[in-house]
Symmetry: C2
Subunit: 303 residues, 2 copies
DNA sequence: CAAGACACTTGATCCCGTCAAGTATTTTGC
DNA sequence: GCAAAATACTTGACGGGATCAAGTGTCTTG
């Protein structure tokens, strides 16, 4: 049972699942192909026949006949393309949308009934799993959930600790005590924080946590940037910079004059980001930490 | 865009995905229905026609003809059922398996090619997502990943903290400081643990973490059970009892004479488990913890 | 032990979906 | 600048996938 077999199993399973859900279109007198075309027309704006055929992997001849049928029933309108007389823009008419309404209701009802039998946890798992599959395959239609930056909510502290532990173990070979160290830092932050002088942000997209950054008091004048982490999958999209700016902005408003941070030479991407954000390295010392030889660095900038 | 729409989007998306993958069976001269039947016959052992039709949602008449074709080609064998002369056991012959081999190879190759284009993270996400969907729908064919009980690995400490924080906030209304407390306990455990006298277990199924339990030293004679937690989805299946027994067994072997634990009155299921495992309550005091009024309890048992 | 349910099979039929050829328009190559 | 190739679409022809209904034995049930 390898990766390929797992996908095959899933394909077989979901083929059956789709078969069950397809019953809802039975009453309409339309075939699956026709329903798929209508759905795309309803959700996708004006289409060119060829693109539609390609997207749905339908035979162009078949599609031509399907569209002709729709036109005869007044469900679609085709208007010549300005600039290319071969193509015609296909759009659903109000009558077409009306004709689709009962079908729409039936599929929605069918899915609703299917979901009804699931408990809330399973339902959440289903949606998360479905989104994960689409994301993995790179479905361009998958809506990007909005990015949010929140303060610590229940579970966040542990997540920060867990991801620091796991990623530093993977990338730097750190041992368990690093995770314990982070746990101590986070616990301390929660217990002693002064909302005016210290702040934590979690970057979220939908249900997922993408990263975190902390601003903590070192002295009245000096803020320290700590626990800056980005999930590997979320890197390279400017998110790190946004989080840095959030942190710098808060430090400025909180009245700090300077911001300092620690990092390691091996974090090239992070170091580049610090440099781009106006930090400069003020010291570098070789050290042994968490079972690994590292080069500690301190960086700072005025605010 | 509600739950139902998300599922519909996924259905549309995966219908397209399946359409692409179905090309691999094109060269064989077999239709999708025939391929599905062959697959089931190959993986599912002897079938009765009716069950097969039901599973694949195929018309019985159609299936009858398909099977007749297979029999004519010597791909299947049907032997009368002992005890019911109406039914016949359908099984793939070696010749049938051989006929399927190139098709098998083609689908595997098609999927392999599809996976090749994905980076490792996406691939892991895909498999996890697919499994999540099947689990949510309650697919009985989804293999249960084997249960394992491991010591702390990178990321586990943080997970323990995160889940304690999230679940106690949800169920008991505890505030952030509880998560910080747990972080302190776990950090302390990692830093000061003596492998002979303290132990932690994470219950895992595949990639998922289902729960945790700790045995820590209180005095040379007395062990303390701590940080016992089970994911809600994993409760009610005897897993808690197994973890308790692991913990008690370790404490016994480590030479402890007695085991104590703290809990709260509101944890009814856990308390019942403790009682069933031979613990008895030794004290009860009302208290205020983490923003909530609670009734602290201490339990203990001899080893 | 008859009536009904059950496991299939067979017949009739439809239309889904595919291949191939044809038309009009646009792009490309020399 | 014009023929050849490509593109967007249509139409024709056709096979067989899929469905409904009726039929045949066999088993279960009241």
């Amino acid at each position: 049972m390898d990766e390929i077999d797992e996908i095959r199993e899933f394909n077989r399973f979901y083929t059956r699942e789709l078969g069950l859900l397809a019953r809802s279109s039975l009453g309409s007198g339309l075939g699956t192909g026709e329903v798929r075309v209508l759905y795309e027309l309803q959700h996708g704006g004006p289409w060119v026949a060829r693109d539609l055929a390609q997207r749905l992997a339908l035979d162009e001849g078949y599609l031509s006949r399907v569209l002709k049928g729709f036109e005869r029933r007044g469900w679609i309108e085709r208007r010549p393309d300005a600039g290319d007389a071969r193509r015609r823009g296909i759009a659903l008419t109000p009558a077409g949308a009306a004709a689709m309404a009962p079908l729409e209701d039936a599929t929605r009802a069918e899915i609703a009934a299917r979901l009804e039998r699931l408990d809330p946890d399973a339902r959440a798992g289903l949606l998360a799993g479905a989104a994960a599959v689409r994301r993995a395959f790179g479905d361009p239609d998958l809506p990007e959930p909005p990015l949010r930056f929140t303060d610590l909510a229940p579970g966040d502290a542990g997540w920060i600790i867990s991801r620091h532990g796991a990623l530093y173990a993977r990338d730097e070979g750190y041992d368990q005590t690093f995770e314990a160290l982070v746990a101590g830092i986070v616990a301390d932050f929660i217990r002693t924080r002064d909302p005016d002088r210290g702040r934590a942000w979690i970057a979220r997209a939908g249900q997922d946590r993408l990263g975190c950054i902390f601003c903590v008091r070192e002295t009245d004048e000096v803020a320290q940037l700590r626990l800056f982490l980005l999930e590997p999958a979320a890197r390279g999209r400017g998110l790190g910079r946004r989080m840095l700016d959030l942190c710098l902005g808060f430090a400025r408003e909180a009245g700090y004059r300077r911001m300092v941070l620690w990092t390691h030479e091996s974090h090239r991407a992070a170091c580049a980001l610090y440099a781009a954000a106006g930090f400069s390295m003020t010291g570098e010392t070789p050290a042994v930490a968490f079972g690994q030889a590292v080069v500690d660095q301190t960086w700072e900038r005025d605010l």
